[in-house]
Symmetry: C2
Subunit: 134 residues, 2 copies
């Protein structure tokens, strides 16, 4: 058994499902991911670096994703109050709505998938996924 192969398959499969569920938003996977990560944060806000870490990517990858979310009116960039190198990205009200829809679709997909598994399976899986993310 090679867990990483299961990981890749599950990632691709869930992205397909989410795209189907959320097709009317017209957002590609990376934007859904960024949106949902921001939606989980207090105030829907984060620095670019923090968001890159949360996604498992790099700031250079995020720039384009954030540009498109901003063009769609789902996100705004703000200066950091104390460090003028840092950019804070924050969901707009429309962005908050979209993020909540994405998160709801993710939770629903999880709920259905995990219905027949032991209740603690999700926690075990989360621990493994976090260990693989270090």
């Amino acid at each position: 058994m090679v867990l990483i192969l299961d990981l890749q398959r599950a990632t691709h499969a869930t992205l397909h499902r989410l795209a189907a569920h959320l097709g009317d938003l017209g957002l590609p996977p990376s934007e859904l991911n960024a949106l949902a990560n921001l939606g989980e944060r207090p105030g829907g806000a984060s620095t670019v670096s923090e968001l890159a870490t949360a996604i498992g990517g790099r700031p250079t990858t995020l720039t384009g994703i954030l540009d498109r979310l901003q063009q769609r009116g789902l996100l705004a960039r703000e200066p950091h109050p104390r460090d003028r190198r840092t950019v804070i990205v924050r969901l707009t009200p429309d962005g908050v709505d979209a993020a909540e829809r994405v998160l709801a679709a993710m939770r629903e997909l999880e709920r259905r998938a995990l219905a027949d598994l032991p209740p603690d399976a999700a926690d075990s899986a989360a621990a493994v996924l976090r260990a693989l993310s270090q």
Copy 2:
């Protein structure tokens, strides 16, 4: 907790690690993934459709990936003995070697990541990942 966000992060993070470990192969993530999946199969062979299912993608996505692996001499396409619509892709000897290196790197990455977790955590995680892949 939204497991799918942990899933995306773990996927990105493991791809970065594997790329670093296997940099001398010069293969992008999708090719590493296809290679490892084929390496897990008897004879290193599969139909395009079966491989697409294993990866969680679509045949149309695979065509380009398989083209590049073939150009690199890691893979060959063969006719199916009984259905002339079907293509069988098979690792070459060089492809088998490369696939074994990729699988070894994946297993090593997993071994280190899971060292501090309960022994059955990997099995639980695999069950969850497979449920999410349905």
